[in-house]
């Protein structure tokens, strides 16, 4: 087990390096540099800044150095000091700014994952046990509807139905601007965005659980269990579920990029003060250091989730460790 974990960690190292490098490359492709952001080209005449001054400014920031040197500096700053530059808008360190909004995004993502995992897998199990019944067909059909509706369309419809037509949920925000604040009220604000994101991911879990359980139900060991006269309950709980629902763990890791990507739009629509909303704002403000921080943190989160999923899976299923 320890050997497996070490091997997985070693494979993750070049991937992490790739993520960091790709982030650097993207920031290199972006037109303009930090000096252009400080002194926008359109305002140079008005401000009376000449080329020599700009050049000195570039030198003081090290922007005149060759790409390779800047890449080395970027790696050193990131790895040794956790420095990703400063937000163009607030002047705060980009990483610190990210850390401030991370709890809101984690809260939304975790509730979303739990909801889609529990509900999706349960529906998948029901669907597999009652294969080819009317219920199975209906559940499959609704899964297709969730897969096929883009999150923002779904969000608009949910907002229209459950916030405007029936005033059941607040239209946005994480907590009331003034007035009482407690866990129940927080959950009330969380419900609609989490449900919208959760239903997006639900279909995947459901179809996966269904296919996986059906495969197990056709396997020899299930036939053996039935042949030796075990009650159906034990066949399902003791034999079929244990083997077929383990792979669902890996799907949680794989579904994270979709949830983070989806949260960009959902957080913007529901005014949820998380990474997605900050990311969208940074994108529209051309706030380059923030965009870089967002890409780096988002993809590192996915990397960690995949690593955790792999290790959990190997812990639960010994066959994986001997690959």
């Amino acid at each position: 087990m320890t050997r497996y974990i070490i091997r997985r960690l070693l494979i993750a190292v070049p991937v992490l390096w790739g993520i960091i490098t790709l982030t650097f490359i993207i920031s290199e492709i972006m037109p303009g540099d930090y000096v252009d952001a400080l002194v926008p080209p359109g305002l140079r005449l008005e401000l009376g800044v000449d080329e020599a001054q700009l050049q000195r400014l570039r030198e003081s920031y090290g922007l005149d150095k060759p790409v390779v040197v800047r890449y080395a500096i970027w790696l050193r700053e990131l790895l040794l000091h956790g420095n990703l530059g400063y937000s163009f808008v607030t002047g705060q360190p980009a990483l610190q700014e990210m850390a401030q909004v991370l709890p809101a995004t984690l809260q939304l993502s975790i509730v979303t994952i739990l909801f889609s995992l529990v509900v999706g897998t349960s529906l998948g199990i029901i669907s597999a046990i009652k294969q080819y019944s009317v219920l199975d067909h209906l559940l499959t059909l609704q899964a297709f509807v969730w897969i096929s509706t883009p999150g923002f369309v779904f969000a608009i419809i949910a907002l229209y139905l459950f916030s405007l037509k029936l005033p059941l949920f607040p239209t946005g925000g994480r907590a009331p601007l003034d007035g009482p604040d407690n866990l129940l009220i927080r959950l009330h604000y969380l419900a609609l965005p989490a449900l919208v994101l959760g239903f997006e991911g639900l279909a995947g879990h459901m179809r996966y659980a269904r296919a996986s359980l059906l495969e197990a139900l056709g396997a020899d060991y299930v036939r053996t269990a039935r042949a030796k006269g075990l009650p159906e309950r034990s066949v399902y709980l003791g034999h079929a579920f244990r083997n077929s629902l383990l792979p669902v763990i890996t799907i949680v890791g794989l579904s994270l990029p979709g949830i983070i990507g989806g949260s960009f739009i959902i957080e913007t629509i529901f005014v949820w003060p998380g990474m997605g909303k900050l990311g969208m704002e940074s994108v529209f403000m051309r706030n380059q250091p923030m965009i870089m921080a967002m890409n780096l943190i988002g993809s590192s989160m996915v990397l960690c989730a995949n690593l955790l999923a792999d290790i959990t899976y190997a812990w639960a299923d010994p066959r994986i460790r001997y690959e």
């Binding site: 790739g18 369309v153 239209t171 990507g261 960009f264 739009i265 993809s299």
Partner: protein, 313 residues
């Protein structure tokens, strides 16, 4: 045929199609049969047939957009602002007095075109990279697979938004951006197929008689690896259409006055419009959902029909 569990139905099946050892005439007869089986299996999915009909209708509207309407999609008419659906304007008019049905028809053009081109781009990238990694293996595979791992860690929508900001927003850049970030799934499929197919006897036989690498790849391996790609491409079309609408919804996709389903939704994104003028957002929302639903149904039926492993006929 020592399997004692063979049912009478199996026996009847074999009697109808005797397993013959000689190949020549049977192979030719098997071809049309295979096609029939494909059609038969596809038709069994009624929802997919329905989806195909819906998609054809959308394609028809997209191609013939100028013929299905009397109005100019960008023709501003301030005398008929924000009108509810009426015989003159079947889906009403928007805040600039433009006919919603006309804009929807032209938007269909944009949305379908972006989806098709984007998917073609990423299928090409995915097949080439996956083929190289799977066929050559070793170091090539190592580098390409790690690169794919890196790409898969980035939430693709986040990357797409980032790059959409760098490039000037127009329809061609939207196609390219969606295309260059969607290939990872296809790459993995194709790589896995190539890895297993290159070890098979018919590839070994081809190599033994001195067939070149290129010919082995294109004549022997690729045709056998293409079925999952077709399915993934179909599902990918739905994804690309959804991504385009999301980008346009955020204002990073097609630019006004051009319309796409997503940009029409963006125009309608305000609480008063949501509440009182459903004709401004409902048609495009329905168009997106129906199209992606149809495409997904078709993809699901294709998976069933093309998969040689599902034995039920």
């Amino acid at each position: 045929m020592v399997d004692s569990t063979a049912t009478p139905a199996d026996g009847a099946h074999e009697a109808r199609q005797p397993v013959s050892s000689q190949i020549s005439p049977d192979t030719w007869q098997a071809l049309p049969k295979a096609e029939n089986r494909f059609l038969r299996r596809f038709r069994r999915h009624r929802l997919a047939v329905l989806g195909l009909a819906a998609l054809s209708l959308f394609a028809f509207v997209a191609i013939l957009a100028p013929l299905v309407t009397f109005y100019d999609p960008n023709g501003i008419d301030l005398t008929v602002m924000r009108q509810a659906p009426s015989p003159a304007h079947v889906l009403g008019t928007d805040p600039l007095g433009r006919d919603v049905w006309t804009r929807l028809a032209y938007g269909t053009r944009v949305s379908l075109a972006v989806g098709l081109v984007a998917v073609s781009i990423y299928i090409t990238i995915g097949v080439v990279l996956g083929g190289l990694a799977g066929y050559f293996g070793g170091r090539v595979d190592m580098v390409l697979s790690r690169f794919t791992d890196v790409m898969m860690c980035f939430p693709s929508f986040m990357l797409i938004v980032t790059v959409a900001v760098i490039l000037p927003p127009n329809i061609f850049n939207v196609m390219v951006i969606i295309g260059i970030f969607g290939w990872t799934g296809i790459m993995r499929h194709v790589r896995a197929q190539f890895l297993s197919l290159r070890e098979r006897e018919f590839v070994l036989a081809a190599r033994c008689v001195g067939v070149s690498n290129g010919r082995i790849v294109f004549r022997h391996i690729l045709p056998n690896a293409i079925a999952p790609v077709v399915v993934a491409a179909t599902m990918g079309l739905a994804g690309a259409i959804m991504t385009e609408s999301a980008l346009s919804f955020l204002g990073l996709g097609v630019q006004p006055p051009m319309s796409s389903w997503g940009s029409m939704l963006q125009d309608a994104m305000s609480l008063p419009i949501l509440q009182t003028m459903p004709w401004l957002w409902l048609p495009s929302a329905i168009a997106i959902a129906v199209t992606t639903l149809s495409v997904n149904f078709i993809g699901d039926a294709l998976r069933d029909a093309l998969d040689p492993h599902t034995s039920s006929d």
